[in-house]
């Protein structure tokens, strides 16, 4: 009888891999000014922001890597990035916004 390894991998099995430890910050959804544009929800590379209502979104922190796109995209500043406990603001890597460094 033939035997197989890694021939069929279960769909959606990546959900077992929590990527929360990647981040130094996470978004806080203030749910105060939200206009329901869905830019946070559609812009999340992980797919870990979910919609609770027409103007209510929140994040499943199991998978958030803290990229900050949601907060950056929100047109009404209703999302704020806060540092993880024990994390410090990273030193500017030189070459981000407006830098002329090599």
């Amino acid at each position: 009888m033939p035997r197989f390894v890694a021939r069929r991998v279960a769909p959606g099995s990546s959900l077992k891999n929590l990527t929360e430890a990647w981040r130094g910050k996470h978004p806080v959804f203030k749910q105060d000014q939200c206009i329901g544009c869905q830019r946070c929800f559609m812009g999340c590379p992980e797919g870990t922001i979910y919609q609770l209502g027409k103007k209510r979104f929140d994040v499943n922190l199991d998978y958030c890597k803290g990229c900050g796109i949601c907060a950056n995209e929100c047109p009404v500043d209703d999302i704020e990035m806060v540092l993880e406990a024990g994390c410090e603001e990273p030193v500017a890597s030189g070459g981000g916004k407006g830098s002329d460094a090599k």
Binding site: P2, F4, R8
Partner: protein, 390 residues
């Protein structure tokens, strides 16, 4: 009913009888007649299969991979340069455990470019994880292609049927084409659960790291070794159903009391049988060993066939440059750490050079006189060897 059929057409008939869902190949001499015949069959409605005209052999192999991945029975054919071009996909198909069947119309490889028959192409990718069967004549080509689909689908290992280009593909021989009903009986429809289907989604072709890659390869190897029994069994089942036997993994000829055995693969065996008969009449006790299954290599069958023989000569149409003929090296592996016959490598017929009965007889006589282990190219033009750049 016996028909006079060109080897290529005979293969096309066999493939048609197996009811493939998808046929896709890129033309290359000397395989062209096979794919042309199949396309004629599709155009006339004799073969109901998807027929895709690929942009290269690489594309063709990838296309049949895709077809097999959705549960289709798929077929392709190639030779020489085409086989080398699709090598990446060959390893991929084997690793994905897809039961693709292909014909390799054996042809020499570039450079220099040469379109005539030798077996360098197929032996060069013997590590790929494909089962490789070599056929001796056009009848065996028909029968082996039908067996190939069954072997592939039961083992989930792709199968390559090798037939000597031009020598078999372009030669008319009397053959019996089996009846559709009998083939349907022998080869049920392919209906795997292992297929891409929105109703049962899964991921095929993961990246596997050092933590699991070895185990996948181990299983592939093991399953290949187990396939030796399967290949033998399918050949016997075929004999029971259709009444024809061409050997299982190997076949022997006239081994009774043999002092010396000659070994080969493919169409040359036909000529060697004649040579053996003549040598026996001349008083030289020669036997023949036909290697029908090259991968998985039948070490046990080979061992048993020649363990009591003192001198063995492997005549083959390939050379692993820097060592010897590959079949010869493989033969030696059947005798690990124990006393083995003296096994010599005779490289002949490269690039389509004809091999005559007399040349084969001379090999046997030379071996009888001097049985020492050696590697020899036979039938060389001494003048040319000296080089042509003066």
């Amino acid at each position: 009913m016996i028909s006079m059929l060109e080897g290529s057409k005979a293969v096309a008939e066999a493939v048609r009888l197996c009811r493939p869902n998808l046929v896709c190949a890129y033309p290359i001499t000397p395989q062209t007649h096979i794919v042309e015949e199949l396309s004629r069959m599709v155009a006339d409605g004799r073969l109901h299969a998807g027929y895709v005209l690929a942009e290269s052999e690489f594309g063709a192999a990838s296309i049949v991979l895709g077809g097999s991945a959705v549960g289709g029975r798929t077929y392709t054919a190639t030779s020489s340069q085409g086989l080398l071009l699709m090598t990446e996909v060959m390893f991929n198909i084997a690793g994905l455990r897809l039961p693709v069947v292909m014909t390799c119309a054996n042809r020499a490889v570039s450079a220099p470019i040469n379109i005539w028959n030798d077996q360098q192409d197929a032996v060069s990718i013997r590590d790929s994880g494909w089962i490789q069967l070599f056929v001796e004549d056009n009848q065996e080509a028909i029968d082996t292609h039908i067996q190939a689909f069954k072997i592939a689908e039961q083992s989930m290992i792709p199968v390559m049927v090798c037939m000597d280009g031009y020598v078999l593909t372009h030669t008319l021989e009397p053959v019996e084409v089996p009846e559709q009903e009998k083939v349907d009986n022998f080869l049920p429809p392919y209906n795997p659960s292992y297929r891409l289907d929105p109703n049962d989604p899964f991921t095929m072709g993961s990246m596997v790291g050092p933590d699991a890659y070895m185990e996948t390869r181990y299983n592939m190897h093991n399953d290949m070794m187990d396939a030796r029994l399967l290949i033998e069994r399918v050949a016997r089942d075929y004999e029971a159903e259709f009444g024809r036997w061409h050997g299982g993994l190997v076949e022997t000829y006239d081994m009774e009391g043999a002092d010396l055995v000659l070994v080969s693969m493919g169409s040359l065996l036909g000529t060697m049988r004649d040579a053996t008969d003549e040598l026996r009449r001349e008083g030289l006790k020669v036997g023949l060993l036909k290697i029908r299954c090259f991968r998985p290599f039948p070490i046990n069958a080979v061992h048993d066939a020649i363990k009591d023989i003192e001198v063995v000569g492997v005549i083959e149409k390939d050379i692993s440059l820097g060592l010897e003929g590959t079949l010869c090296s493989e033969m030696r592996s059947a005798f690990c750490g124990e006393e083995s016959p003296d096994i010599s490598s005779f490289v002949m017929g490269l690039g389509g050079r004809d091999i005559t009965v007399d040349e084969i007889k001379q090999v046997a006589r030379d071996l009888a006189n001097n049985p020492s282990c050696r590697v020899e190219f036979r039938g060389l033009n001494e003048e040319l060897i000296r080089g042509d750049e003066h």
